[in-house]
């Protein structure tokens, strides 16, 4: 089922974790395009697709997918190591919604025809996916979404609007949560639909964010006709399917990688600004460093849960809170010591490592996306502490 011509990927699961890490590290270092290291902004498809194709050619594009579908079939720990190595080398995040979100969902819930049709096209880069979940009036309260899909003959007719659709302008396919039963309780009338972005009636409009980047888009649907066969899973069961895939996202968003990156940049900036002798900075820095190590220790305990093949509980939400809030505090400290440089649009002296304002702004949405810090606290309060709704 491997759609990529050429070599069958070796069984990396046979390696122990340390050897696996080295194999991955060596290959990344030898093959990653040097000009794309540590990009200051999220790259567009035309910029990062050489790396996408390189991974695809190697058979390493979809480490978490089973081997029968063209993935590497890696266990959770090796997947984390794989991600850590990408982060370590400063590899750009690719247009990965097909790889991370849709692929696993199709493998679990899709029909045989859907798997046969869509998965190889993700592996080959022919289909670049984006995720249509949020709407202007359905952010934290996602289940209130109103984009509708009404059956008309053999087609659904889709009307409505999605927002915060990451890299929609690069994508040629979108997976949608749509309301198919307006009379049901809100989570129960939602379905999961695959839509070709070239269908008439779809308009994409980029939104400039605080980074002055057009990563997010609005996507409008005006009587868009979608074949009935593009429904994934059962009608009105889309919410449950989307939710089932969230626990891996929550540990991914709680990984210390962003804080690690920022802490290293803070150290470089502090050296540049000569503030290590300042006792007030020393106190703040010591606090950030110990907070970071404690985050790593807590993260390790959840990795251990995965290692033992146990399900992650709702308490994993606290990792995301700790990670994103620490990331923000590190970048706030960078702003404080950067003084006038904090106002600069571009990295200081053209050095990507000295980019306080850029990192500060990049840290802002981490407490918003993937469930805001407030939503994560609601989840823990109800599902972990047992506080009443």
């Amino acid at each position: 089922m491997n759609a990529i011509a050429g070599t069958e990927p070796e069984d990396l699961n046979a390696l122990d974790d340390d050897s696996f890490r080295l194999v991955v590290r060596r290959w990344i270092e030898a093959n990653y395009p040097p000009e794309l290291r540590n990009p200051p902004k999220r790259l567009h498809w035309e910029e990062n697709n050489p790396w996408y194709f390189k991974l695809a050619e190697k058979g390493w594009l979809c480490p978490g997918w089973p081997r029968e579908y063209g993935g590497l079939g890696l266990g959770p720990i090796k997947q984390i190591i794989f991600t850590e190595e990408l982060e370590r080398w400063g590899c750009a995040r690719s247009n990965d919604h097909g790889i991370i979100m849709l692929g696993p969902l199709l493998i679990r819930y899709g029909s045989e025809e859907q798997k046969k049709y869509y998965l190889p096209k993700i592996l080959s880069g022919e289909h670049v996916w984006c995720q249509g979940y949020s709407e202007p009036n359905s952010g934290s309260d996602l289940a209130s979404l109103r984009t509708s899909a009404v059956l008309d003959g053999d087609e659904y007719v889709v009307n409505g609007q999605k927002i915060w659709t990451t890299l929609a302008s690069d994508a040629n396919w979108i997976f949608l949560l749509v309301r198919t039963d307006p009379t049901a309780k809100k989570q129960e009338g939602i379905s999961f639909l695959l839509v070709d972005m070239n269908t008439p009636g779809i308009t994409v409009r980029p939104i400039i964010n605080l980074e002055m980047h057009d990563e997010f888009c609005e996507v409008f649907f005006d009587n868009v006709r979608v074949p009935k066969a593009n429904l994934v899973g059962q009608l009105n069961k889309g919410w449950d399917m989307a939710k089932a895939l969230l626990s891996f996202e929550r540990i991914y968003l709680g990984s210390p990688r962003q804080s690690a990156y920022a802490l290293t940049r803070l150290k470089q900036l502090a050296e540049k600004m000569g503030v290590f002798e300042d006792p007030s900075f020393a106190t703040t820095y010591a606090k950030l460093r110990t907070d970071f190590e404690d985050l790593k220790a807590l993260y390790g305990r959840y990795v251990e849960v995965l290692k033992r093949g146990q399900p992650l509980g709702a308490d994993v939400s606290q990792l995301k809170i700790v990670q994103s809030e620490l990331f923000q505090r590190i970048t706030e400290t960078m702003m404080a010591i950067a003084a006038e440089n904090a106002g600069l649009m571009e990295p200081m002296e053209g050095n990507r490592n000295l980019n306080p304002a850029g990192l500060y702004i990049q840290a802002r949405p981490t407490t918003i996306y993937g469930g805001t810090s407030e939503i994560q606290r609601n989840i823990i309060a109800k599902n972990v502490l047992g506080l009443p709704g």
Binding site: R88, E293, G300, V305, E374, N378, A381, V384, L387
Partner: protein, 351 residues
């Protein structure tokens, strides 16, 4: 379950051993009324209970078997300390453990035997000033901040010449009451009797880590009470735990507890796996810094979330805050340990 924080970095054997310690300490861990009754008494703890704890092998838990101890590790010691903290046990098991480790290293056997049996209360007078991690070795210096000194039978006084012992009877000792109902002693120098040589650093680290664990147990107990209160107290016709402002504060408490547990158990596991020197001290510093700071945050917040009742001495939540006020600075507070962490630990790998 409020302690949910992934899985401890323990082997199956360590996890089982920790479970057994928890079971054996359960009686003390739940008897806060006992701890309450002992507050502001002289000497602030029960000598009978201290002896029972000796008989249970707790004072010598981490002391090598060859020296008469149980030969267990830090995983067991932090587990025991956590349970003692849960019940606010005032007996100076951790200061006594410090003394036992030092006596064992010095090769002293007689006083150590009495201490391990809980018959002698031997406390180490290692510091001459506030806010230090550096033991004072000046034989002429006044020693300060000796926890539960009013109940000591002997003091261990480290000097340049070696570890010395002074009997409490007849010693020039002044004690001051502390907020947890115990006391801190000031010992003025006299002629000491040397019993051998011992290095203080590693033993002080173990005492600091055990104290962090004691604070962790206290945080969990105070938070459990607070959660129960949030789930029953009604205002404005609703259970107050339904209010989001209170829920979010409760989650912040939970996160502090989770981070403390992660740091404490990581350090204990590493020390038992043979980590020594600067690497061990850095881990201990992180754990104690987190526990010292978190115990105050958690104590404060539990008082706040409990409202007026939280401000009464009758309500147990206040006991945990007053314990944190006393223990957070002992064996080094947050700022001191953070500074030591930065000094000792290597920078993170450049990304």
């Amino acid at each position: 379950m409020s302690s949910a924080a992934g899985i401890a970095p323990y082997s199956d054997d360590q996890a089982e051993s920790a479970r057994m310690i928890r079971d054996s300490a359960a009686g003390y861990a739940t008897d806060v009324a006992r701890a309450r009754a002992l507050r502001f008494t002289n000497p602030g703890f029960s000598k009978d209970t201290f002896r029972e704890m000796g008989e249970l092998g707790w004072i010598g838990l981490a002391v090598p078997e060859a020296a008469g101890g149980s030969g267990l590790g830090m995983v067991e010691l932090v587990t025991l300390s956590e349970e003692l903290g849960r019940g606010l046990a005032p007996e100076p098991v951790i200061p006594a453990t410090l003394s036992a480790l030092l006596l064992a290293e010095a090769g002293e056997t007689e006083l150590l035997g009495q201490l391990l049996a809980g018959e002698a209360v031997v406390l180490t007078a290692w510091q001459d000033r506030a806010a230090t991690l550096k033991p004072c070795l000046d034989a002429a210096a006044t020693r300060r901040f000796i926890p539960m000194a009013a109940g000591a039978t002997h003091f261990l006084v480290p000097t340049e010449a070696g570890l010395t012992v002074v009997e409490a009877a007849g010693a020039d000792l002044v004690t001051e009451p502390t907020n947890d109902g115990g006391n801190l002693g000031t010992l003025r120098p006299k002629t000491y009797q040397s019993v051998g040589q011992a290095t203080l650093g590693p033993a002080l680290d173990k005492a600091a880590l055990a104290t962090a664990a004691y604070l962790l147990g206290g945080m969990e107990a105070a938070f459990a009470m607070t959660l129960a209160y949030l789930n029953t107290r009604q205002q404005f016709g609703r259970i107050i735990g339904t209010f989001q402002a209170l829920q979010h504060k409760a989650v912040d408490v939970k996160v502090q507890i989770a981070l403390t547990r992660a740091a404490v158990e990581q350090a204990a596991a590493a020390l038992d796996a043979g980590t020594t020197g600067d690497a061990a001290s850095a881990l201990v510093s992180r754990a104690k810094a987190r526990a010292s700071e978190a115990s105050m945050i958690v104590g404060q917040m539990c008082v706040q979330l409990s409202g007026g009742i939280g401000y009464t001495d009758d309500y147990d939540v206040g006991l945990y805050l007053r314990k944190a006020m006393t223990l957070a600075p002992l064996f080094g507070g947050a700022a001191l340990h953070r500074a030591r962490f930065v000094q000792l630990s290597p920078e993170t790998e450049d990304a």
